[in-house]
């Protein structure tokens, strides 16, 4: 216990009761009522906002305008004069911007030129493409003339004779063009007398082929067929006439079925 009293005396040399009494007096001395606090505060300044005058309110007069404050007017005048000086200096030194902006301006200028050139080139290309289309439309080969057909037919007879070792006429046959000569111009890169397009055929079967082709043309109703349509028609026809294809050294095909 002696140790505890020593500690209390060190912390509060006059005793705990004395210290508490002293504290109570300090608080009582510093205590103020709310009214006293309010009375010691500075009064609030009213805030005046600029208002648009109402219809009945008196208009703002010149002496009431804040811009008429001599200090403010002087300030504004000095600011305007400073701006004028800055503008004049900028104009005078504007040439200095050229070397400064050149690294940026050069690529921009180049891009602009290329863009312009590109647009011109695009329009030229478009025009060229249109011209090419027109030329291609104009260069679509026209159907074979009668003289050309005559020459092609004569060449077909010779080619079959060469391939088979004997003319088709010797085996009572005729040369059939799988893709008819009326469509030969639609295959401009193909030889109408290629061996794959020539078949030695019985005359009666050739009539069947002719009728089938006539039906095909009638179904087109004046439309130009595609290559795929023509080849599909030829393949359909192959199935019809296959039994009547003449081959050298092979006995004659069976007679055509009667109607």
């Amino acid at each position: 216990m002696a140790g505890l009293q020593e500690l209390q005396e060190v912390a509060h040399p006059k005793g705990i009761e004395d210290w508490m009494e002293q504290r109570r007096r300090d608080v009582a001395a510093s205590w103020r009522s709310p009214a006293e606090i309010l009375s010691h505060q500075r009064p609030l300044q009213p805030i005046t906002l600029p208002r648009t005058p109402g219809p009945g309110a008196p208009s703002r007069t010149a002496h009431q305008s804040p811009f008429q404050d001599p200090e403010l007017v002087e300030l504004r005048r000095e600011q305007a004069a400073f701006k004028d000086v800055v503008r004049a200096e900028s104009r005078r030194n504007s040439w200095m911007a050229i070397p400064a902006l050149a690294p940026i301006a050069v690529p921009l200028l180049a891009e602009g030129v290329s863009l312009l050139t590109g647009r011109l080139a695009a329009s030229q290309l478009k025009r060229l493409a249109t011209n090419q289309l027109t030329q291609e439309a104009a260069s679509v080969p026209s159907p074979l003339t009668e003289i050309e057909r005559n020459v092609v037919r004569a060449a077909a007879r010779k080619r079959i004779a060469q391939a088979n070792g004997t003319p088709a006429s010797k085996i009572d046959g005729e040369v059939h063009h799988r893709v008819a000569l009326r469509f030969a111009h639609l295959f401009p890169n193909a030889d109408p007398n290629r061996l794959a397009n020539l078949i030695p055929l019985m005359r009666e079967a050739h009539l069947i082929a002719s009728r089938s082709e006539a039906d095909f043309v009638r179904a087109l109703a004046g439309r130009t067929p595609t290559q795929a349509e023509i080849v599909a028609q030829a393949m359909r026809l192959d199935k019809l006439i296959e039994p009547y294809v003449l081959r050298v050294g092979v006995s004659r095909p069976p007679p055509l079925p009667r109607k």
Binding site: T145, E146, I147, V151, R153, A154, A161, A168, A180, R203
Partner: protein
Amino acid sequence: MDFTVHEACRLLEAQGALHRRQGGSPDGFVAFIRALLGDQMPADLEAFYREGVEAIGDFRAILPKWNERPERRREGMLRALLPAQAVPIFSDGAGSLYGLDLSSGAASPAVYFFDHEDLFERPRWAAGSSLGHFLLLLGRHDQAIAEGCPAGWERSIDPDIESCPRAPPIWRAG
């Protein structure tokens, strides 16, 4: 110069271009054809059948199958061009036909080309102003193409080919 069928056949035979069929009676054969055509037989056509022409070069004549026994006779393609008022006389070897015109009723009518792509409905071009001229042109046909003769070479053999009434000559047919 006019060529009769007989003269043309003699000329072509001398050139080795004409082949005749063997055997058979021309009278019976002509009578059979006359019956098939309904008595529409121009004099040139009868002369042609009496000559017994089977082929000129690669071009084979269109003939009915003749047999002494009537049940074995076959008309073949003989009436294929009757709707177009013509009688087929030669095949072009590629499905089309050369036909003698029957519409004029002349003794020596013109010969026309009928394309199988048209189903023989109309003559495409004139192949000879008469059968005699046509036979000569047919005998020269392949050689003229091989030699690359210019369009209209036919006029040197058949000067009247452009006056055929039903179709123009080949170089004007488009």
